[in-house]
Amino acid sequence: MEPGSGLPQRRVGGGGLDLGAGSPALSGGQSRRRKQPPRPADFKLQVIIIGSRGVGKTSLMERFTDDTFCEACKSTVGVDFKIKTVELRGKKIRLQIWDTAGQERFNSITSAYYRSAKGIILVYDITKKETFDDLPKWMKMIDKYASEDAELLLVGNKLDCEVDREITRQQGEKFAQQITGMRFCEASAKDNFNVDEIFLKLVDDILKKMPLDVIRNELSNSILSLQPEPEIPPELPPPRPHVRCC
């Protein structure tokens, strides 16, 4: 089953996913005044950020390309997800980044989030051992619901709080090594240390893994719709092989 194939499909406008899309090296001016919209994105990828409460998931999402970190102007309603555009290897990539804050109970994040994610960022707090101890439970959810080829990145956050550190870098590395293909890094969303790199690295890994025809055929369906999803999907994918289980 394709990730997200049970979701309502989005209309793809303007030849959205055609690689190149007939707009070679668009340099601005020329196409601006035409009817066609500007160069569409080459890829669309969904990334989710998961982890226990208080580890800084929301901060990671905000800090990506953000240099303000301003509490004052935040909407009280809270941000659900963001569309961000990055350019990598000459490709324009639209990321749909979902922050799962507020749904920290392991089984409360709708499986649809996992199913359609091409990248999963699993976050713990280096100053809170319990958030590290929770990682196997998060991995169980990933094994159960996520696409097998989703890229996994483990992030030890709050590097700015080094004095309160409870989990060594080696512990984090060791955990990631036990899981096939999982990358690891430490970061500080507060200082913006490593945050941009996290997303770019993840996107790069996703792109490297994908044959072009897969990109064309699958990604248009892999985007999570805004429509409410049933809590229980009609059909669960088979459990992932246990290669990642520690």
Binding site: R33, P37, S75, K82
Partner: protein, 138 residues
């Protein structure tokens, strides 16, 4: 454009007639945005030129500066009439969507989260409105 006319109660006439003073220079002959749409506060790029269509519709947006107003979800705010209408969520360069307020999601800057800069109703999944007066143009 046909789709726009079908979904929007008051589709915009040619921009030269429809646009209020000030917005005429922002709209091209086909009704699209001539300039890039940016966050007023941090300059984050929301839309590239040509990515949206000028349209008129009365929408109530919570005030940008009052957190309390935003929380109330429309109890107080501004009625805004001129918008950039975007048909595909993935036409945005950078944008944030708030959690649901009723059946509405507000649009905010993806980088500094200033907003709301726009409005999206979950009942019409192919329409995203960005208020002209709440963004910068370059």
């Amino acid at each position: 454009m046909e789709a726009a006319a079908a979904a929007v109660p008051a589709p915009s006439p040619p921009p030269s007639a429809a646009a209020a003073p000030g917005s005429a220079e922002l709209v091209c002959a086909e009704g699209r945005n001539l300039k890039a749409v940016l966050c007023q506060r941090c300059g984050s790029r929301v839309l590239l030129p040509g990515a949206a269509t000028f349209t008129r519709r009365e929408l109530l947006l919570p005030a940008m500066r009052k957190k309390a107003a935003a929380a109330a979800g429309g109890g107080s705010g501004d009625v805004v009439r001129e918008h950039w209408l975007v048909r595909d969520m993935f036409s945005f360069e950078n944008v944030g969507f708030t959690r649901d307020v009723g059946n509405v999601k507000f649009l905010v800057c993806a980088d500094c989260e200033a907003g709301p800069i726009g409005w999206h109703c979950l009942d019409d999944k192919d329409s995203f409105y960005v208020a002209l007066e709440r963004v910068a143009h370059e």
